[in-house]
Symmetry: C2
Subunit: 331 residues, 2 copies
Amino acid sequence: MNDAFFKTVARTPAFGFGGAPLDRVSERREDAAFVAALRARPDATAALIAREMPILPRGEPPLAPFFPIAEIDRLGGAQFEALLGIEAAGAPVFAALLPDGAVEQLSGDSEGFLDRRQLIVPGRDDLALTDLRSIAVQGLVAPDAVAVLGQAKAILSWHARHGFCANCGAPTRVAAAGWRRECDVCKAQHFPRTDPVVIMLALDGERCLLGRQSRWPAGMYSCLAGFVEPGETIEEAVRREIREESGIACGEVAYLASQPWPFPSSLMIGCFARATSRDILVDGEELEDARWFTRDDVMAMFDKRHPEGLTTPMPMAIAHHILRVWAEGDL
Amino acid sequence: MNDAFFKTVARTPAFGFGGAPLDRVSERREDAAFVAALRARPDATAALIAREMPILPRGEPPLAPFFPIAEIDRLGGAQFEALLGIEAAGAPVFAALLPDGAVEQLSGDSEGFLDRRQLIVPGRDDLALTDLRSIAVQGLVAPDAVAVLGQAKAILSWHARHGFCANCGAPTRVAAAGWRRECDVCKAQHFPRTDPVVIMLALDGERCLLGRQSRWPAGMYSCLAGFVEPGETIEEAVRREIREESGIACGEVAYLASQPWPFPSSLMIGCFARATSRDILVDGEELEDARWFTRDDVMAMFDKRHPEGLTTPMPMAIAHHILRVWAEGDL
């Protein structure tokens, strides 16, 4: 009986920023001596982040994005560090945030959704910075490493934006191997923030509801999405967001899969919802358009042969997988 | 085909702090004139919170926990207000946080898990304060109203603990009808925090894994649980927490239901996990004990006839429903 239940629902695909292979040893983070001993190990490495982007070696992919710990000091020292975890073979992996001044912007052009800013490390021709979306889309590092870089970016970006106590305004300090901040004035403890976001496909029989935001690449349609608010369930958030953005009412909601999304630190909760109305009314704020699409439409969008040139999000995004599970009839 | 899929997974029970019946009109929160007009309506009401507890009228349950807006000023004015939403009949509902000094502690005794502190409103014999857990457990207000009080407590507690900008330390101010705080110094925007928590039942054939924390009422066993961290999926968090707390390894994970939990503002994500090992090793920190239980054990715990006097959490908690779905063979 359990078998059948698990078979029905346990088909979570691995993609994007999920699948980090580290043992987080979260129960040992308070043990400063343990953490220091890990950091002193010769096989210890660190992901290096500056201006929200990983530093990578130059070369042909797949690139190795983890550097010996000594590299942190060679690059001028870290603002913050966090212990990410331990690899299966025993090697500890840390994350280090370098100050903005450690890198230099080479050109300021941005290219649509991906915002590919090229940054360099002055005096280090062997290193370059690439934004995490591009790293994932272009497969510059192994999928496992993408997940670890996402973990590194999420925790370090949180430190960078949370240097002060929200309760009393005093500066806070890093604790628990980078997984907590503490206020010495009011004694408040602050933990890394993870924002749950529902992302979903409303289904009306053989049609699905996709929308587009004006800031997206031309022609791209995707699942609707929005933050879960205090005081609501996942299912309530799904129905509220669909109704607000598209005017469509929904009944039952079914969970499919989840994905960490390090921009800055969301948990994407992927769902289907059964539509109970059909007339779309876009809000004009979140979305500039929303439409019903057939399976054939979506397959054509995947294959880049849609007559209007419409497209879907890339496979690094959970929206792609929600759509694919539906379009390929894999429910 | 969709029918079968939804039927398999869409059986989310309603309980605890879910099921708030309000239209949150979140797309209108920026419209100050709209919000002011709602607040001026004669049918507008407010949930009143002080020291993290709702103010209730004295009397026989079910009590009406929403007061005319004018009551806020009669009680000395609010520290913060938020628009919760609009009832189906059109009446707006707000939440108002009264300063600590507006209420007075009558007695300081606390009674185990529920922490039933009795507070009064000086000079107002018609009002009393009761903590939200007791309100839910004792059914002091209608289930719909429990959910709205949970929403009120979660958003107001966030304001109370986030008066300063985590980015620069400056005081922040309320915006968007109580759903955002803004920093006029560094221009950072801060949104209410909702912390995703996985809560789950590991299954080994016909047995389930329950644990207990030392601070819980004597004899109570429940699902394991823990915060989702940056960089992990729901499924990864489920496996990590079970392994850390009990030493049990797990494979597939299946989502069941979710629940908002306003202590202070979590989203409980209820799951099952298929255990792939059997030897329990409790960490001694999170848990003081963990054991395998049969369906018969759990049914006896529900019915308060377990030979060792063991019990489960109450029906207001999602853990109760995860256990009941499994014990009653409703997968």
